[in-house]
Symmetry: none
Subunit: 199 residues, 4 copies
DNA sequence: ATGTAAACGAGACGGTACGTCCAGTCTTGAA
DNA sequence: TTCAAGACTGGACGTACCGTCTCGTTTACAT
């Protein structure tokens, strides 16, 4: 969870940041987002609930969007910890199920809102990619690449294409508000992407 | 393009609705959305640009979200008219390319914003599904179903799963702000979904 | 009591200004200023007390200073109505007593605060002069001028000098926070300015 | 120039106060006030300009108002040093001219702001009187008293009334933002207060 | 020489009010 | 009835300073 770094000049100058306040803010923000989604995650409400001054929030988070990113990362880390052994296709299949299960809640909601926000805020876009999108995506791509090397997958495809084929359908259902992606659906996707749907 | 219907009491009483105003509003809204996306599409700005009173907009559109839906439909109809002959897999392949080409612009941006909005507004969610999501989705599902009947596709899969496998990757790239989905990518997706990526 | 004029285009367009709101605002502002002086006269407090939205205040008053001017004028008009018959020296003597009596309260306090504010806000300075300072000052100068014409006063002095000699001591005590100018003091001032203090 | 006294327990314990810092603060504060008046005299700006921590300012000055008083005294001492020989009417006439010349600048501006502030801050009011208002006023009153004893002035007037008659018009013009009091005006005032304006 | 008390630099914190932007509603007169 | 105009309520924003607090660091006197 990375916020603005404590104004980096000398290492230990000035009053140290209040860890307590930071935690209270994040906790309050998470609670609010869980209950009312992104619209409920106002700086004002967070400040009140955390028992913290509004200015204290602004000192560390530039706006509510980047605070929401921290909340999203927090939730995501808990609900679907990033895959550790990304070296096999099996790991991807598992990860797929986890994502499907985890994302159909506050996490998915926040993600959607932030993606929308990120279209007009460079900083949000960057943060979202660096802290949410890319880490998992690249782990997956490495796994795909390894599988290609082992001869388990066609190697005439860029790994990103394979990753998109796998994750795309899950997030499609999620973001478009279609039927929620079940774990069963995730498994079907995995199997059919590997085997194809043609005769 | 469906707005509120002219308050239905007696058929033709009072001043008739100004068709000109309706068009001016939609045109202004489209222009604003094209330039600055959803955040620029404020009722205030639309009213000024269309030379129309704010009240007039609210008389016909419940809020800015549903106005944006009309804009989205307008743009979508032009950029990627809904498939006419949905009876062959070829048609889906073509549709896929069209979507990939069309959605990487104002349309995709608006869609994302509206999806975000729809999470806390029942009416928006319904309108978005009825006027944007379902029509195309159901046409695609019928095409898949027909292909299954003709024995061109495995028939142990629900058509919706196949549709998600095809459209998912495209919209995934689009909505997540990854590399824009190119037409080439669309073709790869189609081919690999049919043939599989395994060895 | 002049605020921003109702956006002057066509005469009777749009929803008319709410007289009720205007009065409630002014009443609330006066009450707050009377109790806690200028510092208590915050837009926020006025809005709450008047049961009015903050934006409504800002629509008609550019900032709290010009609102305070209206309050000052209101109070001043009541406590010391501008002299009607300004044609005799007797009138000035009376006016002097009235000012001395009236200004030692909320009015004096507001005046001081506004003078301070006006030093860095052109608009406030102008409004203060046009609506508070000049009207009375010019009436007094006309009275002095008339007295000079009648031969009751030396005519080798600019009327403004005479006015300053008369009003200066009163406001000096007032603004500098010295002993409050009593009516007795006002009379002494008048008499000694006319007769001199020398032997 | 009186600030808080160095926490008085044991006589000479701990690190001694930095005279250099004190001077830097006062110099910075004066510069800021000269340029932008009282509003520019923020603790934050002073601290930065003086290269000093905000805490250091607060250690010696209770708030920005009393710091401003020190600035005012500094400026006043330089621009219009207090009269040395206050024993003759001539000295008052000179002092009057000096005041008129000096006060039409940063000094007058600060004075006005501080008078305003002093209305709701007992400590400021006291300090302002003790360090600015009274010293000069009492010197003037002694001079008047002496002149009365010598038979140069009517002795049926309290000296404070005479002082107000003399200084009032000058400060009236100054504080009310009327035409700046010129030295010529100061002389007229002196002469007319002694001789009267009547026929 | 060394311990200790106070000053100092830095900066986080709680807090108040500001003025702004829009949203969506209400009220009027004219078409 | 609709339309244009515009006043209204209301929520949240992000900013600027205030004055307080809590650190680590420095400095000089008193032991």
């Amino acid at each position: 969870v990375a916020t603005r770094s404590p104004t980096e000049t000398a290492p230990n100058r000035g009053r140290p940041r209040s860890e307590q306040a930071r935690r209270a803010i994040l906790k309050a923000a998470t609670a609010l987002a869980t209950q009312g989604g992104y619209p409920a995650l106002t700086i004002e409400a967070v400040a009140e609930r955390a028992g913290v001054a509004r200015t204290t929030i602004y000192r560390w988070w530039a706006n509510r969007a980047v605070l929401a990113i921290d909340v999203l990362v927090d939730i995501g880390m808990t609900a679907a910890p990033p895959p550790t052994s990304t070296d096999s296709l099996r790991a991807i299949r598992l990860e797929l199920r986890r994502i499907a299960a985890a994302a159909s809640g506050t996490a998915g909601e926040l993600l959607l809102a932030l993606l929308s926000e990120s279209q007009h805020d460079e900083a949000v876009r960057t943060a979202l990619h660096e802290r949410v999108t890319y880490p998992r995506r690249e782990a997956s791509m490495r796994a795909v690449s390894a599988a290609q090397d082992r001869g388990e997958l066609r190697d005439d495809l860029h790994p990103s294409v394979v990753v998109d084929l796998l994750y795309g359908p899950i997030f499609y259902r999620l973001l478009m508000g279609l039927d929620a992606p079940t774990e069963r659906f995730a498994e079907q996707v995995f199997d059919r992407v590997l085997g194809g749907v043609g005769m």
